[in-house]
Symmetry: C2
Subunit: 220 residues, 2 copies
């Protein structure tokens, strides 16, 4: 049975301040929070499933699944034996810091790393600080290499970009080098990880980055 | 040189009334307006490019491309010799009727059918009537068959669903029949067209629907 939290819009005029407070509290509690943003169907849950399995024994990972409706993602994470909570956003197209705080209350046990799987949307989530320590974006190869041109803010706001479904490269016209150039023109400091959660290609590089950033956060 | 219109949020508290007026005016002018909604990277522009080429001599088609930034989509349509206008939404995640009206002013010449390529987003655009005669959604096969569970409102609001990139079916786990069932549970009246704009498979069925609906509108 998946827990589902029905969130309402949090009443505050200062999301940025709320986000700073939440980040501070999570740091105190030793939880490293990552905000995962992407378009619908980019493979966030598949990526997380593989990451959780790969990192068993290295980090206790929890996942907060944010969706308009359904609990299919939380069920998938739950089936791995990992701690997960499904939150519904009352039709809202993004998560803010207050919603993130309320959702986190549903996660139990001692956790090292928590992923917020934000609503599938490349626009609105980029505008709201959730209180996460790192922001990440997932672009799936089938979506095309023109996305940095169309959704620049999302690429600017993220610390890492993961390009998923790389195993399908033979079947699409996708220029990886052009994508990297377009992304770096918007955000020179971003880390970029092309990978396939299906075949495992590139997973190591991404997981090493995750563990390194977690380590940095513990020592911050 | 692509024309770009920078739209601002239209100041109105009655989008539904604006949308009704715009629909009425377009009917008077003999323009059939279709609102195309989808996630980013679903293949809207590729579908429209093939449709425009296939229907040369049958219908004069124009396209309004709505994006946060860039003019890559309008350039692609323009290269076909079709009338197109790029509109930028000032960071907004959807088009409303007032914005649609302002964007339409940039389209020149006598047109029979106009497509509004709405912002790539499965959430917010579903909540705003643009004044279109028909609403359509594009789901690309790589996005997965769970989308009707996660974004029910979008599927409920549409007259037609096009499932694109069907040529990539061998490389993904996508259950077409399950998708149809989930969609019809939300919206029994919706027309569903699985197709590949790359290979041409299924294009006829979709184009016949388009011409039939246009005919119905002319006789309405």
């Amino acid at each position: 049975m998946i827990k589902v939290i029905e969130l309402k819009r949090t009443v505050t005029d200062s999301n940025d301040r709320d986000a700073e407070c939440l980040r501070c509290e999570l740091t105190e509690r030793g939880i490293f929070l990552l905000n995962l943003m992407s378009a619908p169907g980019s493979g966030k849950t598949t990526l997380l499933s593989r990451t959780i399995t790969d990192l068993v024994g290295k980090a206790r990972i929890g996942v907060m699944e944010a969706d308009i409706a359904s609990d299919v993602d939380a069920l998938r994470i739950n089936a791995l034996g990992a701690e997960s909570i499904q939150v519904h956003t009352d039709g809202m197209c993004h998560m803010d810091a207050g919603m993130t705080r309320n959702g986190l209350m549903g996660l139990e046990g001692d956790l090292d790393i928590v992923f917020l799987e934000n609503i599938g949307n490349l626009i609105c989530p980029a505008e709201f600080d959730t209180g996460a320590h790192r922001n990440m974006m997932i672009l799936s190869l089938p979506e095309g290499d023109d996305k940095p041109l169309k959704y620049p803010l999302m690429f600017q706001k993220c610390d890492a970009l993961i390009i998923t479904k790389m195993d399908t490269a033979p079947y699409f016209d996708f220029d990886l080098e052009a994508t990297k150039e377009r992304v770096r023109a918007l955000n020179p400091a971003i880390s970029i990880f092309p990978l396939s959660a299906k075949t495992g290609m590139g997973m190591n590089e991404w997981e090493n980055w995750l563990l390194t950033e977690w380590e940095k956060q513990k020592n911050a």
